[in-house]
Symmetry: none
Subunit: 193 residues, 4 copies
Amino acid sequence: MSPATRNEEARQAIIEAAFSLCAERGFAAVTIEGIAARAGVGKTTIYRWWPSKAAILIEAVENARDASAGYPDTGDIYADMVTQTASVMQMFTTEFGTIWRGLISAAQSDEPAAEGVARILRVSIDQCVARLAKARDAGQIRTDLDLELAVEIIYGPIYHTWLLRTRPLPEAYMETVLAALLPALTPAPASMA
Amino acid sequence: MSPATRNEEARQAIIEAAFSLCAERGFAAVTIEGIAARAGVGKTTIYRWWPSKAAILIEAVENARDASAGYPDTGDIYADMVTQTASVMQMFTTEFGTIWRGLISAAQSDEPAAEGVARILRVSIDQCVARLAKARDAGQIRTDLDLELAVEIIYGPIYHTWLLRTRPLPEAYMETVLAALLPALTPAPASMA
Amino acid sequence: MSPATRNEEARQAIIEAAFSLCAERGFAAVTIEGIAARAGVGKTTIYRWWPSKAAILIEAVENARDASAGYPDTGDIYADMVTQTASVMQMFTTEFGTIWRGLISAAQSDEPAAEGVARILRVSIDQCVARLAKARDAGQIRTDLDLELAVEIIYGPIYHTWLLRTRPLPEAYMETVLAALLPALTPAPASMA
Amino acid sequence: MSPATRNEEARQAIIEAAFSLCAERGFAAVTIEGIAARAGVGKTTIYRWWPSKAAILIEAVENARDASAGYPDTGDIYADMVTQTASVMQMFTTEFGTIWRGLISAAQSDEPAAEGVARILRVSIDQCVARLAKARDAGQIRTDLDLELAVEIIYGPIYHTWLLRTRPLPEAYMETVLAALLPALTPAPASMA
DNA sequence: AGTTAACCGAGACGGTACGTCGCGTCTTGTT
DNA sequence: AACAAGACGCGACGTACCGTCTCGGTTAACT
């Protein structure tokens, strides 16, 4: 009675084709036909399961990310932030960066894509918030700081520079940013009284 | 040189058509053919003067912005920042926001568009830097802060939230952000010693 | 032999679905998928037993025709011809006409369909030839006339007009045609000498 | 002010491509994409000017026919009929026959195609009627015969046999048919009285 | 005052990709 | 074993825009 069931091989092939095409040619140049051709699959099979190329790439990113590690925790929140943000910036320069840039671009006009992007980010943000909470409990972070906001303050400059392309991202960008932000993140010095 | 001169009426009509179409339907749904039809203009005329729809909208934004004022200056840098960022966030909710979002999206894969976006931003950033420099001279801002970086730190959170769509931008978002950032922007309190 | 026996219910349902779909939407709009859906049957079941939609409809026609009567025989060949051709022309205006037209259309490019059409016609032609033979034996038809040819001469004008659509078939078309053909069909008058 | 005008080269190429494809592979196997590819033309160009492949072939036939001759007239209507019908039957065996068969097939479910087929036939029928009228004036044809009907009686058997595929068309088919029809076509012998 | 060349509207053109439909084959349980 | 359900690779559909290319027509500076 069951319907013929979904073909997992095809799913994998499609996701990989989308990923590699986007990495090679950029998101704007990816077409459903191109993905189908590279995956050796009919267009129908793609349209049956995904509404857009963005949806495929979101799944690709979610798949790839599942294997990845969580937030570093050496006990030094500043060092861990530098480590983590550096790895994000490093990622921006890889094929993941190309794909992530494309997805953010798509999210500006495609509501489901925007939800996918937000869903992907949610995980990273939650991890970051959790790490910050731990640091706060350890007295390394101000107690009166909304940690969601802290994440936006920390990552905001990276995305501002990366997406608005006002200047190239310097290698040690986040060292500088975090140094500048430190007074806003760490507990205020004891008052005079 | 004769009637071989550019038709200013057509230029205006094209820019206005592009603007209104983008405002109504979103950047992704704008087409050169649609602009030509609404402007009552041949496609050739558009291609003669602009390389892409993004280029038209960049010119539209630059045109519209020429009339706008500079940075507020009441003497209180914090209040001025709140005012100015609030007006940016307000702009995001208007048709300019729609167009600006589209241009940023285009900039992710279209180099000339990226340059246009950066060029538009440059003016605002320079104004902001100038205002910050004045505040620094007035002792309201730390002297050891790269002001370009300060702009990224201040506007980063707005763009992070607006472009990545992780949550709606609260009305008083920047009051909160600037309050949190204050320790990082203002001169450090005199040391105890 | 167990459920490994052909499902007669399914066969009936398929034939009826094909028939009704063709009657409603015309042969060109009939699809195997549509038949399967209406018959509540898997596509496989159709492909297992028939090679094409034309084959199903040929079977449908043959089924429906099995119940039908032979050629009228009142003793007056002219009257019987008028009766019979009128009933054929009447049939053309019903859903059988729609299906028959479709099958003839298919027969132009589908060899098995052409054979099916010829097979269906064979029965009618043989009946007609038999009736004509009887009339010939009764002295109502020229003895030097190939009766197969006679059938083509009689039915040719109907099909010419019906298939080539040069004009609508008048109600009493065959009265006129047969009146005109009479001198060619009946024995020649005794010569003068 | 005029729009860019229609490209006559493209029109010719399309008609020739459709013609040759249909001749090679049969009407059912002709596709718009195939025509476009062979003609070196965009699909849009085809859809801009023709509603279907049948329409293209109708134009092809009309074009080709314009050059062709009229009805033979040796003074002997019987001989001329044999000549002309033989040339029609000869045509059926050529690529024109393939195309004509396809168009008649299409005409069964495509109203505009049916009109095109009828339009093409109209010319031939009118020529035939004119020739018959001349013969009637010369006393070779009964005066009480509707000549349109006569055409249907004469060509009916050919089309019956050719389209219904009940048997192959013998070489000298129409000699036999016309011989059989003679008594119905020629003036009746003087009555006895 | 007439000539003329760049610009303009209109839109046809060769293409690419779209998203859909139906094909005929296949796979997966169910009966 | 035959069946329903339906996923699959495939090919064609008819449409939307792309960017290029004629077409006349209309101007405005330069003979």
